[in-house]
């Protein structure tokens, strides 16, 4: 397949031109308008961004920040449980991660690992609120609908390839479970308007369907139907009589949609074009296949792609009981595909300009809900102060004091460790804490967006990072 090249030597975007384009777009969408008090956009170190989302709360001590290992022993005090997986070496001296992530361990020399991300204690630890915060940079509720970080990229940078939707969201079902409305609240372009919103592909294997003619309609019939639409349009009694902006704008959108549906890039959505060996190398299953899809989309010019292990209350990373067993399975789900994604992008020369960010809304702990002294209600599904059965074995409480983020490529350092958490409980960040605002500022800066970029909505500025105050963590950049 014909991959578009990501030219690292691509000249710096002409910001003036961008500004003019954004200004023109602003005329179309009442509401958000780029602030005239322009900020200097930093020079991008990445052109594309892939978020690997560990929805539900990925426990740092069970993944990228191993602590003292406590094997399962009936009757052992719960307080002794820090990690339920032993640590293994990686290919970087001084960085050890949890057993079960052996493949990722072999690409850690391409990674920047942050062990000191922190979240606010929102009083009641709710996945959807923290996910909203992580994805928009703003704690809900907000008086205007805040845009997802992907929508910021779509709005400020636009698509990298004009036919490719700029913001693609893989793996999350938005219907059918208890918090689906809450997920929809941030899986949106908010006040930017749906032009910048996500293209949702909840099932990677079915992604091809979303750019294909509808089910049951072959390509010939699809084309005939479009042709009929155009012929009827030409017969319209007022054709050419008036040049009408609203009508033209609607036709342009229909034309754009049709262009993607009949473009060569739409093959990027079709996983069946990969060999069985490649599909297998990414691990069967939704997350692995989602990573493979993300690779194909980025190769074909996608700007922002999020791939999730999927957040479903009490499933996957949302371990309220049986944590060890569940995480063992999750290790298998994520280990090979992530390593493969890094290697594949590198082999194609794309890793340097593609920023991969693995993150989660918070971490987990066996004992502490929230942070020490939080008033948050304990939400562990299994109680007791001793390991009485395997279902007690794991980290079942939500912890916001020290969370892992792993970044690959996109101008970040390689084989770099940033921040540190305490060796003993409470496992809070004790060095270089990184807030969500600063993490976002880092991601935005890498993508060439100033954290102070702001749009006017309802007469007020709304910034890319909270109040425009996020600061990129400079030590992470190569």
């Amino acid at each position: 397949m014909n991959a578009l090249s990501l030219d690292p030597a691509q000249p710096r975007r002409d910001f003036l031109k961008k500004l003019a384009a954004a200004g023109a777009a602003a005329l179309l969408t009442p509401g958000a308008r780029l602030r005239a008090e322009a900020v200097v956009q930093p020079k991008a170190t990445a052109d594309a961004c892939i978020i690997l989302w560990m929805g539900g709360g990925m426990a740092a001590p069970e993944t990228f920040d191993p602590k003292r290992y406590q094997p399962y022993e009936k009757g052992a005090p719960m307080g002794n449980v820090l990690s339920t997986f032993p640590a293994i070496d990686t290919n970087v001296d001084g960085i050890r991660i949890c057993q079960g992530l052996e493949h990722i361990a072999q690409v850690m020399d391409r990674a920047t690992l942050i062990r000191s991300c922190v979240q606010p204690d929102l009083g009641s630890i709710l996945h959807s609120r923290h996910q909203y915060h992580w994805h928009t940079g703003y704690v809900p509720p907000q008086t205007v609908a805040a845009p997802h970080i992907g929508a910021w990229m779509a709005k400020v940078l636009g698509p990298r390839n004009p036919v490719m939707p700029a913001f693609i969201n893989i793996g999350q079902h938005l219907e059918g479970h208890g918090e689906s409305e809450e997920l929809k609240a941030f899986t949106t372009a908010g006040f930017f308007g749906s032009e910048y919103g996500p293209m949702n592909l909840p099932v990677p294997e079915e992604a091809a369907q979303s750019v294909r003619p509808p089910r049951g309609m072959d390509a010939g019939r699809f084309e005939n139907r479009s042709a009929l639409f155009k012929k009827l349009l030409d017969q319209h009694p007022q054709r050419g009589a008036v040049s009408d902006f609203q009508r033209e704008s609607m036709l342009r959108s229909l034309e754009n949609a049709h262009r993607l549906l009949s473009s060569k890039e739409r093959a990027a959505f079709d996983l069946s074009l990969e060999s069985p060996e490649v599909r297998e190398s990414y691990t069967a299953g939704k997350f692995g296949q989602g990573c493979l899809l993300a690779r194909r989309l980025v190769e074909n010019g996608a700007r922002f792609v999020e791939v999730t292990t999927e957040y479903v209350p009490f499933l996957h990373w949302d371990t309220h009981a049986n944590g060890h067993e569940t995480v063992e399975r999750l290790h298998q789900e994520i280990d090979r595909p992530i390593a493969q994604l890094v290697r594949d992008l590198e082999a194609r020369g794309l890793l340097d300009r593609t920023l991969i960010v693995l993150a989660s809304e918070f971490s987990r702990d066996a004992m502490i809900e929230g942070v020490p002294n939080s008033t948050a209600t304990d939400q562990a599904g299994v109680a007791g102060d001793r390991l009485e059965s395997p279902q007690h074995y794991g980290l079942h409480r939500h912890f916001t004091g020290g969370t892992n983020v792993v970044m690959f490529g996109g101008g970040m350092k390689r084989g770099h460790l940033y921040g540190e958490t305490a060796a003993e409980r409470p496992l809070v960040a004790i060095k270089n804490p990184v807030s969500i605002s600063d993490l976002h500022a880092t991601i935005f800066t890498a993508m060439g967006i100033s954290p102070r970029t702001a749009f006017d909505i309802e007469g007020r500025p709304f910034y890319a990072t909270l109040d425009g105050k996020g600061e990129a963590v400079r030590d992470l950049f190569a």
């Binding site: 008090e37 509720p141 009827l232 609607m250 993607l260 950049f477």
Partner: protein, 807 residues
């Protein structure tokens, strides 16, 4: 590589230095600088005051300096007079001359601000805004009518155009008017039958009668304007907060209020000071679990919601600090919030406590005040009275402006939530507002007044570009169909509206209709003859009926102790989980000539064996023939367990047995309800379920139906590429048109073939097709139209801008 090496150092306006030196904390003009200048300098150097010839109203004036020359040297605090006078120890030179000196922190912030190049918020000025809208109502004198154009709207608009020597927009033709007024007033397309009657009518008052008829269709009107109000009152049938009582629906109250056309003053009073729990959801807002910022507590949400929805006042800025964009102050936002607060409310500035307590107050003290000492319900009553005070022209101006926007495509004040702005025609705005009061706050009167004007009945303005430079009225603007209008229109044309709804409302109110005699029997499986059914067991029932022609009306009412799901021809069309709530379904869209399958999965409840029963009563009516019954009895087939996939009845019915009648003693009390529901559903098929009564789905979301966590007063008017993709290959629309084409073919089976295309054009566009269009459509359909061909033609017609716009 260090970060700084890839940041551009090219100066860029006045923020360049800040951006280029990421190590310096960014200066936040709005939050850090304005309060310092206000506190220490504004008394003598802002507004009309210009001591020493120095004003800091705007950045320009600030930089222009004083009679002593420049006060600030951009980027150089050390050389700036301002920095010197705030730091000097010389009492003759120091500023401010009296009062507190600036703290070290404040001095540091100003220093950074000057060094950063004196960044300013665009458009911000310390002086009050040039335009302050009047509060009192006003009855402008109407200009004389010209050429018999008597409608007050026309008298005002004609004078406006004449004064500017602008032409009047052209008059709208009958068909386009009829389509527009239907969509605007009741949200539905006129049917081809209605259209042809209207077009054939030669009477001069036919438009007035059509309009009166639409306003008189209470249910259609209510079910259209429900979406407008759900958006404005952020009410929905699912969403954040509903599940844990952090938020309450007002659906039932709102529906009734619209159905009965509750006067707007009463409507507002019942939302502000709820007489019952039914209408309290709007004021309660959304209580989030966990900690929220001070600017989003429930009392603050109350202030924001009341301000935005009823008064077009944006208190969102003022919830955090004195607004920079209009005149509203932090204390005013908190005063309104304190009306609702259960406990003492401390004023927070930018999320930090100020140590001051808010005192319940109202935004326009010239109309009266609120006694903060009274208990909350009394305070709310006072607020409701002030809100609807005859002197509060802001309330009525806000709502008539919203109505003008919905009907005419652009507000008299625009955007509609910013009533602080200047109207393009204040006489018209003020007239409409006073006229609403003169007509007892009857919103339908205002709609009637606008829609009967020649201004409304003229051709839509043709825009050459988006957005307004300097707006001058040139006729109504085209509007995009809302998600609900689009959905309803597709259901209207294809006859595929769903059989059930999500909104917890009594549709159409309690209509008294003649009852049908019930002949059905309560049935269950034969297995435990005479014994109670197992708790939780599911039994599937099936029935085939053969039709030689389609009836003109067909409906069925079903209930089951305890719950059921109903499929007709393998499509799920109804369900209930409580036997007290029977469900009536219009069968017409789902029936076909030939064999039809009815399948019901019935489930018993309880914790031990108990009585279970299923009841079905249906009628199929032909205009010129007998009616046929479809009722549950011992001839139905049944088998234990869930229904087959998609409710398909196997051809040989192997493993199915005959059902058994059960004693109906337990359910006799339900007979009146069943009779009435069936009669209601049979009455012309019953009005179709409207999209406004359903939870949002992917298609509606794609077409702009908002998530109602925030108040939304206007929907996007542009179709985006992602939305266009959904229209191209989204599953919901595809399936709907696929089913719709089949239903449509079935319905039109006996009718003249050549009439189909004109019928479609009449329905979709309210006009006849041109010969070229007929030729294309006929070619697409082919000599023997198949469902597939019709489906594609429907698609090609329904995504045309002509369909998606109300022009």
């Amino acid at each position: 590589m260090q970060l700084s090496s890839f940041l551009s150092f090219r100066p860029w306006f006045f923020l360049s230095l800040v951006a280029a030196l990421p190590s310096a904390r960014a200066v936040d003009f709005a939050h850090d600088i304005v309060p310092i200048l206000k506190k220490h300098c504004s008394e003598c150097h802002t507004g009309e005051k210009k001591k020493g010839g120095f004003s800091m109203n705007t950045r320009g004036e600030l930089l222009a300096g004083s009679e002593n020359g420049k006060v600030i040297v951009e980027g150089r605090s050390a050389e700036s007079l301002l920095y010197k006078v705030i730091t000097t120890g010389d009492v003759d030179e120091q500023m401010p001359p009296k009062g507190d000196r600036l703290s070290a922190g404040e001095v540091e912030k100003l220093q950074m601000w000057i060094d950063a190049g004196v960044p300013w918020a665009e458009g911000f000025a310390f002086k009050p805004a040039a335009y302050e809208p009047p509060l009192a109502p006003r009855r402008p004198e109407l200009p004389a009518a010209v050429e018999g154009r008597e409608n007050p709207v026309d008298r005002l608009v004609d004078a406006y155009l004449a004064a500017r020597q602008r032409p009047r927009p052209e008059a709208l033709g009958d068909g386009a008017f009829y389509r527009r007024v239907h969509l605007d007033v009741v949200g539905l397309l006129p049917t081809p039958e209605q259209l042809s009657v209207f077009l054939a009518d030669g009477a001069a008052d036919k438009r007035a009668r059509a309009l009166a008829g639409l306003l008189g269709s209470a249910q259609d009107y209510a079910e259209h304007w429900l979406s407008f109000w759900n958006d404005l009152l952020r009410n929905d049938y699912a969403g954040t907060g509903y599940i844990d009582d952090g938020r309450r629906q007002i659906s039932a109250w709102l529906y009734q209020a619209l159905l009965k056309n509750m006067p707007y003053d009463q409507f507002v009073r019942e939302l502000v000071a709820p007489p019952s729990a039914e209408s309290e959801g709007f004021g309660r807002g959304i209580k989030w679990r966990g900690v929220v910022s001070a600017g989003q507590t429930v009392p603050i949400q109350f202030a924001q919601s009341m301000g935005q929805t009823f008064l077009g006042i944006n208190l969102k800025c003022a919830s955090c600090h004195d607004s920079f964009i209009d005149r509203w102050k932090l204390d005013e936002a908190y005063g309104l919030a304190a009306v609702f607060a259960e406990a003492p409310l401390e004023i927070h500035r930018c999320d930090k406590p100020t140590g001051r307590q808010a005192k319940a107050a109202w935004l326009f003290p010239e109309l009266g005040t609120i006694d903060a000492a009274l208990p909350k319900p009394e305070r709310l009553k006072q607020l409701a009275a002030l809100m609807t005070h005859p002197g509060n022209g802001r309330l009525t101006r806000t709502i008539v402006n919203r109505l003008w926007h919905r009907l005419m495509g652009r507000g008299l004040v625009d955007p509609v939530d910013s009533m602080q702005g200047e109207p393009w025609n204040s006489d018209l705005l003020d007239f409409l507002a006073s006229d609403l009061v003169d007509h007892h706050y009857d919103l339908k009167h205002t709609i009637q007044l606008i829609c009967s004007s020649q201004a409304y009945q003229s051709v839509a303005e043709s825009l050459v570009e988006g957005g307004d430079r300097k707006y001058i009225y040139a006729g109504p603007r085209a509007k995009r169909l809302t998600a609900e209008q689009f959905t309803d229109a597709v259901w209207q044309i294809t006859g595929t509206a769903p059989g059930k709804m999500d909104a917890p409302v009594a549709r159409g109110g309690a209509a008294a209709v003649p009852g049908e005699e019930l002949t059905g029997k309560w049935i269950w499986s034969n297995d435990q003859k005479g014994k109670a059914a197992e708790a939780g067991e599911t039994v599937s029932f099936g029935r085939r009926i053969e039709l030689t022609s389609l009836p003109q009306a067909a409906a069925v009412v079903v209930t089951c102790d305890n719950g059921f799901k109903l499929w007709v021809n393998q499509k799920e069309v109804g369900a209930s989980d409580t036997w007290e709530k029977p469900v009536a379904v219009d069968l017409l869209p789902h029936l076909r000539v030939g064999k039809n399958e009815i399948v019901i999965a019935a489930t018993n409840g309880g914790s031990g064996p108990n009585v279970a029963g299923l009841f079905v009563e249906g009628r199929l009516r032909w205009t010129d023939g007998p009616s046929q019954s479809l009722v549950s009895d011992a001839t139905w087939l049944c088998r234990a367990g869930e229904a087959p996939a998609q409710g398909a009845l196997p051809g040989d019915a192997a493993g199915w047995k005959l059902a058994a009648e059960v004693d109906d003693a337990a359910w006799r009390g339900l007979r009146d309800t069943l009779r009435n529901q069936l009669a209601e559903a049979l009455r012309g098929g019953g009005p179709m379920v409207r999209a406004a009564l359903l939870k949002s789905d992917f298609l509606m979301r794609a077409l702009g139906r908002p998530n109602r966590e925030q108040i939304v007063s206007t929907r996007p008017n542009d179709l985006t590429t992602l939305e266009a993709m959904d229209l191209n290959n989204g599953q919901i629309l595809t399936t709907r048109l696929e089913e719709g084409a089949k239903v449509l073919l079935g319905r039109r089976a006996g009718q003249e073939r050549a009439a189909l295309v004109p019928w479609l054009y009449a329905f979709a566009y309210a006009r006849p097709p041109l010969p070229g269009e007929v030729a294309l459509a006929e070619e697409a359909l082919g000599p023997e139209p198949t469902a597939e061909r019709l489906q594609d033609l429907l698609w090609a017609l329904l995504i045309q801008p002509e369909f998606q716009m109300v022009r």
